[in-house]
Symmetry: C2
Subunit: 492 residues, 2 copies
C-alpha cells in the first residue's frame, strides 16, 4: 500500500502497520523491512508492539529493545524506541516519522500486556482467554484510566494531495491475440505479451516478480512500463504481500508472477488474502515435469491443488498462446484470487483471435461421431492427447479431446455431456500430482453421475531431471501413455 501511495498514486497518504513482537519472529516481516527501505518508503510507519509475552511463553527477545533497534536499523529503517503507554511520546514519534525523508520509520513501543489491569498486567497465560471472574475489576480499572471521556475536539487533517479516482473496470487487450497457426509459442511468453497489452489499455495495471522476470516473461511489462513494475527480489511472502497491498482499495490491478512452485512459499499470504477479500492475479510459470532438466525443486506439481483450495478463486490453465492472452484479460476483470498456470515449453496454436474463451467454458478440440473415450488435458498434456488421438485413429479408434481452460470453475456440463457421448469413459491427463488438480476437479464434476468413470493420469512420485519428453514418458502422461490407457479402458 505504501509503494502504491508513493510511486503509483503519487499521493501523500501515509500507511501504518502494527506488528506484534511475537509476530516479528516471522521472516515475512523482515522481507517487508528489507523491501521498504530499499524502495525508500518514507510514507510507511511500522509500530512494533513489544509487550514481552507470546501465547505460550515470553517472546525470545522479551523487552530487549536494543536488539529490536539494531535489527530495524540494520534493515535500513529510521527507528525510535518509545514507552508505548505514553501518549505524548507516541505522538512525538509519529510526528517525527512524518518529517523523515527517504526511509520508513519503525516505532518500537515498549508495552505491557494487560497494562493497568491488576493481576493480569505482564502476566503469562492470559493470551486469548476470557477474563471470567476478573472481568469486572478489569473493566473498572480500564474505565478509571480514561482521563478524558468526552468529545476530544480534535479533527484529523485530510491528506492534501488525495489519490485520484481510478477506473479498473472493463480492461481489454489493446489488440487481439493473433498468432500464425504454425507458430510454436510458450504460454509463459504469451503471458508477457498479454500483460503489456492490458497495460497499454489501462494504466492501473501493475506487475511484480521475485527475480524471475526473465523466465516468467513479466520482463516484457517492465520494459514497456518500468514505472508500473515492482521487482520484489527472492522473497515470495512479501512479493504476494506487495501485490495484495497494491490491489487494496481498488487502486490497481496487480499481476504477481514467479515460478508456480515458489508461490507455495506464500500460501498463507494467499489464504489470508482471500479472507481479506483481496483482488489479485497470480501467474505461476514452469509448471510440471515438462520444464525438463531443472529438476523437481523448480517443478510446480501441487499449485493447482493450492489455488483450487482458495475460496472464491478462479484457476486458469490455458493451453495455447491465444487462450493465455484471454486468461490474462479475463483475470484482470475477475474479482477475488485468480491464478494462471503457464508452462515452459513452446506449444502449438489452437485458437483464433475471435474464439470466445470464457471462464467455466471448456472447448472440445477434437470430436467425431464415433469417439470411444473423452480425454481431458491442459497445455502440454492436451497436445499429448491430440498426438494420442492421431496414433489411435490409425487403428480406427477415435477419441474426443477437451480443453477445460479453467480448472475452477470447471465446466461440468460440457464434461458430462461429452462423457455420455463416449460411453461414460473419461481419462484426465495432467502435469501435476494426482491430488487436488485437474483429475480430482473432473472427478468432482461427475461425482453425482452414474455411468461415468474417470481414469486419472498424473505424476505419481517425486520426479527426476531429464528432457521434457523423457519426463512426460517416464511419469506416465505422454501420448504413448494416453494410447495405452485408452486401449486398456476399451478392453475392459
Amino acid at each position: 500500500m505504501a509503494y502504491t501511495g508513493k510511486y503509483i498514486d503519487k499521493a501523500d497518504y501515509r500507511v501504518f502497520c502494527i506488528i506484534g513482537d511475537g509476530e516479528s519472529a516471522e521472516g515475512s516481516v523482515w522481507e517487508a523491512m528489507a523491501f521498504s527501505s530499499f524502495y525508500k518508503l518514507d510514507n510507511l510507519v511500522a509500530i512494533f508492539d513489544v509487550n514481552r509475552l507470546g501465547q505460550s511463553e515470553p517472546t525470545s527477545l522479551q523487552h530487549d529493545m536494543d536488539v529490536y533497534r539494531k535489527r530495524a536499523e540494520a534493515f535500513g529503517w529510521n527507528t525510535s524506541v518509545v514507552e508505548g503507554h505514553d501518549v505524548e511520546a507516541l505522538s512525538k514519534a509519529f510526528y517525527d516519522a512524518s518529517t523523515v525523508k527517504g526511509r520508513p520509520t519503525c516505532i518500537l513501543a515498549k508495552t505491557f500486556k494487560g497494562k493497568g489491569i491488576p493481576g493480569i498486567e505482564d502476566e503469562e497465560n492470559w493470551h486469548g482467554k476470557p477474563l471470567a471472574a476478573k472481568s469486572e475489576a478489569a473493566i473498572k480499572a480500564i474505565e478509571d484510566n480514561i482521563s478524558n471521556k468526552g468529545p476530544h475536539g480534535l479533527t484529523p487533517k485530510s491528506p492534501s494531495n488525495q489519490a485520484k479516482a481510478v477506473n479498473i473496470s472493463n480492461i481489454k487487450l489493446s489488440e487481439p491475440p493473433t498468432y500464425d497457426k504454425s507458430a510454436q509459442v510458450a504460454t509463459r511468453a504469451a503471458y508477457g505479451t498479454a500483460l503489456v497489452k492490458i497495460g497499454k489499455n489501462n494504466d492501473r495495471v501493475v506487475a511484480m516478480d521475485g527475480d524471475t522476470k526473465n523466465s516468467t516473461f513479466s520482463i516484457k511489462f517492465k520494459e514497456a512500463f518500468p514505472d508500473r513494475f515492482i521487482e520484489c527480489f527472492i522473497a515470495e511472502q512479501n512479493l504476494v504481500g506487495v501485490g495484495i497491498g497494491c490491489g487494496t482499495r481498488g487502486r490497481t490491478v496487480p499481476f504477481i508472477s514467479t515460478f508456480a512452485c515458489f508461490l507455495s512459499r506464500a500460501f498463507d499470504q494467499i489464504r489470508m488474502g482471500a479472507i481479506s477479500q483481496t483482488n489479485a492475479n497470480f501467474v505461476g510459470s514452469h509448471s510440471g515435469v515438462s520444464i525438463g532438466e531443472d529438476g523437481p525443486s523448480q517443478m510446480a506439481l501441487e499449485d493447482l491443488s493450492m489455488f483450487r483450495s482458495i475460496p472464491g478463486s478462479t484457476v486458469f490453465y490455458p493451453s495455447d498462446a491465444v487462450s493465455t492472452e484471454r486468461a490474462v484479460e479475463l483475470a484482470a476483470n475477475t474479482p477475488g484470487v485468480c491464478f494462471i498456470r503457464t508452462s515452459r515449453p513452446n506449444c502449438p496454436i489452437l485458437y483464433s483471435p475471435d474464439d470466445n474463451l470464457q471462464i467455466g467454458k471448456a472447448r472440445v478440440v477434437r470430436k467425431s461421431d464415433s469417439d470411444k473415450v473423452t480425454v481431458i488435458g491442459c497445455c502440454v498434456t492436451l497436445f499429448e492427447a491430440l498426438k494420442a488421438a492421431d496414433k489411435l485413429a490409425i487403428d480406427g479408434v477415435n477419441i474426443r479431446v477437451i480443453d477445460p481452460f479453467t480448472i475452477k470453475p470447471i465446466d461440468a456440463e460440457t464434461i458430462r455431456s461429452n462423457a455420455k457421448e463416449t460411453g461414460g469413459k473419461i481419462i484426465t491427463v495432467e502435469d501435476h500430482y494426482p491430488e487436488g488438480g485437474l483429475g480430482e476437479a473432473v472427478c468432482s464434476a461427475v461425482a453425482c453421475c452414474r455411468d461415468i468413470t474417470v481414469k486419472k493420469l498424473a505424476v505419481q512420485e517425486v520426479p527426476r531431471s531429464g528432457k521434457s519428453a523423457e519426463l512426460l514418458e517416464k511419469y506416465g502422461i505422454s501420448a504413448n501413455c494416453i494410447v495405452k490407457a485408452v486401449n486398456q479402458i476399451l478392453s475392459q
Copy 2:
C-alpha cells in the same frame, strides 16, 4: 541439524550452510538466523555467497558487505567479511569460527559470479544458462586457475566426540490408549498424551512448536521431556526447517506442531522436504470451522489438500482420542511426511485399546442390513453423521457411517464395498473446503466404479466467527444438513 548436534546428540560435529545472496532476501533465512543465535548454536557456520547478481538483475544489496555484516550482527551472529576467492582467508575464517563459543558464525564471502571466466565474470544474464560457444574458453580458464592438480595430502580430522548409533524403529505407546467410554476428549489433547507415551518409549522422539504448545498440547511433552522439546516461536518456515533438520540422518523422530492453518506458511519447506526424502511428522490442530469464535484466520480449511499433494505423504484424520494416539504411534514408524489433523472440540470416545487401527484401513462405525446411504466423515463431522443416523432411524431410514482414519492412503476397497451395499450412494462430510480434502479423496477412490455417486458436504465459502455448532449448521456440515442430504438423495 546444529540444534540436534549440540543439544540432542551432544556431539562435536559441526554444521555448515551455504546461502546465496539473492536467497538471503528470503525471510526464512532470518527466522533461522534469530533461532540459531537464541539457542547459541556455536556449532553452526553460515556462508553467505555474496556474488552481487541475482537471476534477472543485481541483488538489492549488491556488494554492500557492510549492510550484510550489520544485519548478521544484529541477529546475534559472530560475523566476518572475507574475500570469497581467497582460500587462505576462508580457511582462517573457518578456523576462527571453530573457536567462538555461544554464538553461530556467519562468513560473508564477497565473490564474483563466473570468477576468472573472460566475458562472463560479474556479468548479468548468465544465470542458469549453458555457456554454448563460450564453453571451451571457460573450461580452459578454470583449468589454468587450478594451481595444485595432484593429491592435496590433507586428511580432515574426524570428530572426536562422535554421535552414538540410535534406534528409531518399532516405537510404541508406553501404555495403550484407555479412555472411559463416556469421556469427552479433544483429539488435540490426545495428541499431547500420545506424544508423551512414545517419548517414554524412545528417547529419540523430539517435539517442536511455534508458540502454540498450550493449544496443540505439545506442552505435555515439554513438561515431561524439557530437553527434547524445542520452542521455535512464531516462525513456521523455520519451525518446519528445524523439524526436518532434527530428523535428518535418522538422528531423531520429530513431531512438529502448530495450528494446521499456520503450516500453510511452510508449504515450500514441506514440499522440499519430500523432495529431500525427509522423515517428519506434522500435527496441525484447530482444523475447520468447529474451532468456533476465533474466526477464519485460525481455521484450517485447506490443510488436507496441502498435505495430500505432498508425494509419498500419509494423512491421518483421527476421529477420537484412541485413534489419535494410534495415529501418533503409526506416524512415528512411517517414513516420509506424515500429517495428523487434530480438532479443538471435545468429542466422544469411539474405539477400544485393542482396536487395531491401521494406515489405509477405514472403520465402519454404524451398520445395518438395510442401510440406504454410506456417509463418510471424520472427527467432528463423523459425530454429526452418527447424530444424523439417530435422527433418520426415527423415520425408519438407516445409514451406514464410515471413519476413514487415513485420508491418504484412503481405503478404497472398504468405501467401494460399503457403497455397493447402500445402493451406490455416498455422502462425504468434511470440515474443510470442497477441494482436495476428504470428498475428493473419496471421489478419486470410486472414480473407476460405475454405479457409485458421491455427494460432497463441505465448507463452501470463507466462514465467519460463531459458536462451533452454529458454524457447522451455517456451513452445511451439521447433523441436520446430513439428514437433509440423505433425504434429498433418497427422493431422487
